[in-house]
């Protein structure tokens, strides 16, 4: 595992509350805009999708690629971020 980013640490360090989707690791302005267009404007909506997919890594990544055309790394970062957040707070 490579080192975690500050964005990842910030997100995993506290409850997500009403954080924007762009505060998820791997989600920038571009992907955030695409997700917002798809209705996933908040981080908890993405978390909901992550949970609906039953934390399945491949499905979630595939979903990310399908919805916002995320790259493998971006999807992986987002998945790891949500997964670790769930381990911490869920």
């Amino acid at each position: 595992m490579s080192g975690t980013t500050q964005k990842y640490r910030n997100f995993v360090a506290e409850p997500m509350g009403n954080k924007s989707v762009t505060e998820l690791a791997g989600i920038g302005e571009t992907l955030g805009g695409r997700l917002t267009e798809a209705g996933f404007d908040k981080a908890y909506t993405v978390l909901g999708q992550y949970l609906v997919l039953k934390k399945d890594e491949e499905l979630f990544k595939d979903w990310m690629k399908d919805v916002c055309h995320a790259s493998s790394k971006q999807a992986s970062d987002c998945y790891n971020c949500l997964n670790d957040w769930c381990e911490e707070f869920l």
Partner: protein
């Protein structure tokens, strides 16, 4: 694909049933998840992997691993070598993924082999990077050999591949051979290697090892003396004659070091322990003229204490006690010693001397104990205080606080008057 077009038309319930039917996780089918689920279901039905990249990569890995298995497996890879490779393996995930021990280990071993090979070939004299991997092995000396073993074993089976590389390190083969033989009797290794030079290299290796250990401290003596040296040197100095008989090189080195010690004794306090040790035998009660004084220098005190427990009680006690005693008697000359130590030691030494004078034979146990009991805590406290003072400037801050307090007191005393 045309057959699966119906998946997009079926309802969510039916799609979920299809997923369960094909063994997929029963993920709730919603508008947001439908596309993903259909994709995976389609991939499952067709038998094609969902992620083409991963599948391609995994396929390439498997393909690459398959021929490796065959080559290595046919080349008679020893289980010992496999184990060693496993320990040195840098990719645990790969190892974990291997269900079949032999085949997968071979494939993994090859990956490790290549990296090691590069290291091993560059490591004719010393292997820095390779040893990091070798550290996993229990025996340090064997560690270098263990790599060689892997390397050797790999080479022997894959003679066609690595035959060119083997001649580069013929000496190592012997080491490798010995290891491989000890771990597991390998027929292949025993064939080639034993014929070359098994015993010849071993003798060379054994001798140089002992020399190397001794040389290192000797060469470094003028600059600094490691604490480990004294125990080695004592026998060295005592056995110089025997050493000179046995080995030429060592005798030369020892002789030089011994002479140097005498010469350096005055200049370097660290050396002095030897001289004191040899000289201490001369006079038990009387302190030596110059050498003992040198020994008593500040740094040596801390250096000696650990030596006492190390040294055997029978032989070394009288000498060591005398060392400590001599400085006490000669405490006057200790100009070089630190002030703090010079103050403390005389008291302790005087007390020791009174006890020691009674009987020379009884001296050794008593002073050593007393010193350990009395000198040790004081010296440790002082060292601790010094270190703290160095780091935190305790004296400075203490004085500063005192001055501030005094200033405030004066100010408070004067303010009402004003």
């Amino acid at each position: 694909m045309s057959d699966l077009s119906y998946l997009e038309t079926i309802s969510n319930k039916e799609l979920l049933a299809k997923c369960v039917e094909h063994g997929l996780p029963s993920v709730p089918v919603t508008d947001s998840t439908r596309a993903v689920i259909i994709r995976r279901l389609r991939a499952t039905i067709l038998g094609s992997p969902l992620n083409k990249r991963k599948s391609a990569v995994s396929a390439t890995k498997q393909q690459a691993a398959a021929p490796r298995r065959e080559t290595i497996h046919g080349s008679k890879v020893t289980p010992a070598a496999e184990n060693v490779r496993r320990t040195a393996g840098k990719s645990p995930s790969r190892l974990a993924s291997s269900s079949i021990s032999t085949n997968n280990n071979n494939s993994n071993s090859k990956q490790n082999e290549r990296s090691r090979r590069t290291v091993a070939y560059g490591l004719d004299n010393t292997s820095d990077s390779g040893r990091s991997v070798q550290t996993t092995t229990t025996v340090s000396d064997v560690g270098s050999q263990s790599e060689d073993d892997d390397y050797y074993v790999v080479d022997s089976p894959g003679a066609a591949r690595y035959s060119n590389l083997q001649p580069a390190s013929p000496k190592r083969d012997d080491l490798r051979r010995s290891l491989s033989l000890t771990k597991s009797g390998v027929l292949t290794t025993s064939y080639t290697r034993e014929v070359e030079q098994p015993h010849y290299d071993r003798q060379e290796e054994d001798i140089p090892k002992s020399h190397n250990y001794e040389r290192a401290p000797l060469n470094t003596l003028p600059s600094y003396v490691p604490r480990i040296d004294p125990p080695y040197r004592r026998p060295m100095n005592l056995d110089l004659a025997a050493l000179s008989r046995t080995q030429n090189v060592q005798t030369q080195l020892n002789s030089t070091s011994y002479q140097e010690d005498v010469g350096y004794s005055q200049s370097q306090p660290i050396r002095s322990p030897r001289n004191t040790f040899s000289g201490s035998a001369k006079p038990f009660g009387v302190a030596a003229a110059s050498q003992p004084r040198q020994r008593q220098s500040g740094p040596t005190v801390g250096f000696r204490q650990p030596l006492q427990p190390r040294t055997p009680m029978n032989t070394l006690y009288p000498t060591l006690n005398q060392f400590f005693d001599q400085p006490d008697n000669n405490a006057q000359p200790m100009e070089t010693e630190s002030e703090s130590e010079a103050e403390e030691e005389p008291q302790l030494r005087s007390s020791h001397l009174s006890h020691l004078r009674s009987s020379p034979l009884a001296r050794p146990p008593l002073p050593s104990r007393q010193k350990q009991a009395q000198v040790a805590p004081m010296a440790q406290f002082r060292e601790l205080f010094r270190s703290l003072d160095r780091q935190y400037h305790l004296k400075f801050y203490f004085l500063l606080c005192v001055t501030v307090m005094v200033a405030t007191m004066i100010y408070v005393a004067l303010s009402p008057a004003v």
